[in-house]
């Protein structure tokens, strides 16, 4: 066997290249076989439905007639739709900014603590992220409840009039954002804390020797070093917040008078509850542009990091 190879190989180099190719091919086949379930899952249950949604949005209510862009055009002339667009943007952008701010501040505070206590605090502060949102939102729902409101009870102790948290549009909008910030800020805290830990101490020491104040250290050392993480975490969060469903569904269900509806809850109300699947699909498709933009930036960052390695 071995002799056979020895005798054959030096004579014919094309034959050898064949076997080498065969080896490479077998490797690729194994690799493809291992990745196949993933490919099948993603293409049938993610990619295909995504395109199917586009098709669905072009049908009429009975789903028997193709109507082209009529659903989209209808939405563009519908006041409630524009309210939902505005509320979705307000909800996502405000929430992400506050999550990032709180995350940034708290991560610095935790980072300040002696190493021994950090674990405990970090563990405590991440709890909102761990509790399933549906369940914590129910607790918030009751904290905001007009007659039993535990928050209003506290405010009354300080002589502040009770607030209709979920009853009037302005406060309802504030409340859904507050709950989203409460739920998402810990995630930012963890990400930023990890980023802070990755900044080498020598940089701060060098900055201190160069005479930098605390603010200057944050501005010239921390922020530039964390820039990537800050950006990517915000983009991620923007996508997730934009597509949020649970909080609004449980807290206000879009009310009062649709003032807190965002794309996902409105699409649900129209599509599943209202039994107008094409219209629901059309609404949810309006999430695509912002998702696309965020995805583009995330991808660019990943590719850049990938090529720099």
């Amino acid at each position: 066997m071995a002799n056979g190879i020895a005798a054959k190989a030096p004579a014919s180099s094309p034959a050898r290249r064949m076997t080498m190719q065969k080896l490479m091919r077998r490797r690729s086949t194994t690799a493809l076989a291992l990745a196949l379930p993933l490919i099948v899952l993603i293409s049938t249950l993610v990619i295909y439905p995504a395109f199917y949604a586009v098709y669905l949005s072009m049908l009429d209510r009975t789903m028997e007639h193709f109507t082209g862009l009529r659903n989209i055009l209808f939405l563009l002339h519908f006041d409630t739709f524009w309210m939902v667009v505005k509320q979705s943007c307000l909800f996502a952008i405000t929430a992400v900014i506050f999550k990032a701010l709180i995350g940034f501040v708290t991560s610095h505070f935790v980072h300040n603590l002696p190493a021994k206590g950090q674990r405990k605090w970090r563990g405590m502060l991440l709890v909102p992220w761990v509790i399933p949102t549906a369940m914590s939102t129910i607790a918030w729902f009751w904290l905001f409840d007009p007659s039993y409101s535990a928050i209003n009870w506290l405010l009354a102790k300080f002589g502040i009039e009770s607030i209709p948290f979920l009853g009037v549009p302005g406060w309802a909008r504030f409340s859904v954002i507050l709950v989203n910030v409460w739920y998402g800020a810990p995630f930012f805290l963890i990400m930023y804390l990890a980023a802070l830990k990755s900044v080498p101490d020598q940089l701060y020491e060098a900055a201190a020797i160069d005479g930098a104040s605390w603010w200057q250290k944050v501005w010239y050392v921390t922020l530039p070093m964390m820039r990537n993480i800050i950006a990517i975490t915000m983009l991620f969060s923007l996508i997730v917040t934009f597509a949020n469903f649970d909080i609004v569904r449980i807290l206000t269900y879009g009310g009062p008078v649709n003032s807190t509806h965002i794309f996902a809850t409105w699409a649900f109300a129209l599509g599943i509850q209202g039994n107008n699947i094409p219209m629901g699909a059309s609404v949810s498709l309006f999430m695509l542009p912002i998702l696309g933009v965020a995805a583009y930036f995330i991808l660019r960052d990943i590719n850049r990091r990938g090529s720099s390695v």
Binding site: F109, N112, W121, M135, M191, F268
Partner: protein
């Protein structure tokens, strides 16, 4: 010259103590603010516990909502004796465990293939996997709803309003991210390790099972935790695809069946939420480092 030396002298002597003092102040402020944030962050779960321990009578009496005057475990007992609640719990548990298994069976080999074997198009595919992670459930639930209805019409298999159908759908939420985490972990393993294994005579499958799985165990635990918590707390899909009381999972069950009209049995609802939140909280308490590793892996690796 000597004057400046004198001027420096006392200041240099005073410096260490002022440094120490400013550091102590910084620490003190950190604690003050962290306590405030902790109160904010822990308010809802603590409130759940307080209310869960109250009787309906105490709640209706509108006494101090932040204190339990007559603590009772009645609410918890009632829930544990309620077949309905136990059904929700069972549905959630079976789904979560099944989804974890399916996810790992799909994600780990795929990550090994994409991260380590490097075939034609593997980088593109890895990026594609990541992109699908960014497609939210709120974009997919309507087409999936229609597809499930279509499957029923053509094959007679009723997917809608059956809790087990969620086992097929949930992996779309977990697999992309878990694959992404595992690619990161696999890629961080030095390439010499597979070369050593290759020389030792291991094939690709042996390399995966005997070398990569044990070495990447922390990543696998992190991915498992992620898959479990995501399936445990998913709300939109079960909300859209299941209706009958016996087909609901915990989050939806609590929201739709316990909250009935105007008669809220708040003590029981809060107890239900608390027990529903327990599995992820327990996992988190014991495996916090893996949990956090999984969280941060998405952005820092890859």
């Amino acid at each position: 010259m000597s004057a400046s030396a004198q001027a420096i002298g006392p200041r240099a002597a005073a410096k260490p103590s002022s440094l120490k003092r400013s550091r102590r102040w910084a620490l003190w402020w950190s604690y003050v603010f962290l306590v405030l944030f902790a109160i904010f962050f822990l308010m809802p779960p603590v409130y759940m516990l307080i209310m869960g321990l109250k009787t309906s009578g105490e709640i209706a009496a509108m006494t101090n909502p932040w204190w339990v005057f007559h603590p009772t475990l009645e609410n918890f007992k009632a829930l544990l004796g309620s077949t309905q609640y136990l059904t929700f719990f069972r549905n959630s548990a079976v789904i979560a465990v099944a989804v974890v298994i399916i996810t790992m069976l799909i994600a780990v080999p795929a990550a090994f293939s994409l991260g380590r074997m490097k075939f034609w198009g593997s980088t593109t595919l890895a990026t594609g996997v990541f992109l699908t992670y960014l497609i939210p459930d709120s974009l997919l639930f309507i087409p999936l709803f229609k597809i499930m209805a279509w499957v029923h019409e053509t094959t007679g298999i009723a997917l809608l309003n059956h809790w087990w159908a969620l086992i097929i759908i949930y992996p779309t939420l977990t697999v992309p991210f878990c694959t992404w985490i595992m690619i990161g972990y696999f890629q961080s393993i030095p390439k010499e390790l597979d070369e050593a294994a290759l020389i030792d005579g291991a094939g690709y499958i042996q390399m995966l099972t005997k070398i990569f799985l044990p070495v990447a165990l922390p990543g696998i635990i992190a991915a498992t935790i992620f898959a479990f918590t995501v399936s445990w707390s998913e709300f939109l899909y079960p909300m859209a695809f299941t209706v009958s009381t016996d087909q609901l999972v915990l989050p939806v069950g609590i929201v739709t069946t316990l909250i009935k009209g105007d008669v809220y049995n708040w003590g029981q609802i809060m107890a239900a939420c608390l027990m529903g939140a327990a599995p992820p909280l327990i996992i988190y308490a014991f495996l916090m480092d893996y949990y956090i590793a999984g969280l941060t892996a998405g952005a820092t690796k890859g």
